[in-house]
Chain length 159, copies 4
């Protein structure tokens, strides 16, 4: 079950081409990541600013399929996945949400971008790779796709 994050595109997100500046869509995805961590009970200030285990982004990629405009309602589907006992990745699908017909209840979605971030856990004192912390493991189980994780584990066994 993915975590779902919604927000409106703001004027500041846009550039002089009239749409959201490309790198800002990655920032929106990171917002969704932060919201999912907070939702799992993780203290954001401690997690990002004073961590025992720092978890920097080591890789990111993004494909853009549709521009986003100021005022657009964006819904981001976030799915984390453990890739090693020290690493995880997060995939994001960012969609524009539009009302259909007269009713406000009916909406349709169109994918605007698909992104990925990869993260590695580093012990801040020892400056070495370390295991994914317990609170992050809980977050992985809460929002991760159990089938995908199992598949990943099986493919690990085959290697």
């Amino acid at each position: 079950m993915p975590f779902i994050y919604e927000r409106t595109v703001r004027f500041q997100d846009t550039d002089a081409a009239g749409v959201v500046y490309f790198a800002n869509i990655l920032s929106m995805c990171h917002e969704a990541y932060e919201a999912s961590l907070a939702d799992a009970g993780i203290n954001l200030n401690r997690f990002f600013c004073y961590p025992k285990v720092a978890i920097p982004v080591t890789h990111s990629s993004i494909d853009f399929t549709r521009p986003l405009f100021c005022g657009d309602r964006v819904r981001i589907y976030l799915t984390p996945r453990e890739t090693k006992d020290t690493d995880f990745e997060v995939s994001y699908e960012a969609c524009v949400v539009e009302s259909v017909g007269d009713s406000m209840d009916q909406v349709q979605e169109a994918t605007a971008a698909r992104a990925l971030t990869r993260h590695t856990c580093i012990d801040s004192a020892a400056r070495m790779r370390t295991f994914i912390p317990d609170e992050v493991m809980r977050w992985l189980h809460q929002w991760g796709d159990p089938n995908q994780s199992r598949a990943a584990r099986e493919s690990d066994l085959l290697l």
Copy 2:
């Protein structure tokens, strides 16, 4: 009755001093401005990007009284006020909201910043000052302080 806008401080808002970068608090205030316009039924994309009447910020000021940290819950009180038939200003009070005691219901607020933006209406085609558009007048009445406005109008009569 001011318009109230709430959001969480995000990692991207912060700088290496560990708190929100000073100019980003003005951007948060502008977010509140956008939210108040949308709430009054104004189409943000047309308003900001393809306006008949452009309404640029001509002046801004801000006082900082308390730092904001990643994960903080911020509540912004926004009050617009007509200053001339072509101009208005918006005042903002940004507060940190904290839970008190064990209950999630009880909160206390502490002011983090007070800001002001001044705006002038410009006819995009003629490139000249023009009257505040009707939809913006409705927004001014919806969120403005009627006593303040009346006082302002009286002081105009005296000039």
Copy 3:
């Protein structure tokens, strides 16, 4: 003698109105502030991130007189001024620089914005106001207006 900082307006600075987003002009002014500090031999990482004396912005104001476009060459004139033995302020004039005629040598300037930031020195350990550090005093003397400072000192005596 003011410190002079030049840079080109980048796509990321702009918004969907086709010009630089208002709060980003304050960020450009802060860039000029950083460049002036570095020029005076101050280590920026230590100054901003691990300071004995933190010097936050306590107030800022800005007037906009002309829009800035992507690709514009901007020149910022920065003048610092001591206001108390614990406080200083920095004034900024941001100008668009344009070539005149066929020659690249002749340029003319047009003011785009005038801004101000006020700063207070805080002892990071004691969390109390403290004197302006020596290296910052040197920076104040290097780029400050000596006449303005003297005038300020005289007006202090009168109070």
Copy 4:
């Protein structure tokens, strides 16, 4: 021969972890892209804001190998490459530049990130793919790697 762009890491680029925020390194790469276009005589405002042929980023990826700190001197090596008659990609290597020993002349570089952006040319009126414009072809020849391009052309022939 790659295009080389240099700039200092600014306070605004950083986040509360004390280093440059991940998505901001992509923005720095885009700055290098803009500087290389301007250097090839391309008008940035027309190119990005009022183009006959819009050239959006369709894909981006980035690997982070080393954090960047406020005040760091960053050098970005940019190499563009035509991939189709309507598409090109740009690769970036961002390095920290440090002085070695007492001399300011001797420097050493350490790679902080490697990034890629892919771009597709769209006719703004017809809203369809179109050929890479002449001025962009000149920029591709100016900064592209001729061997890489030839190799690419050969592999195209084989397909």
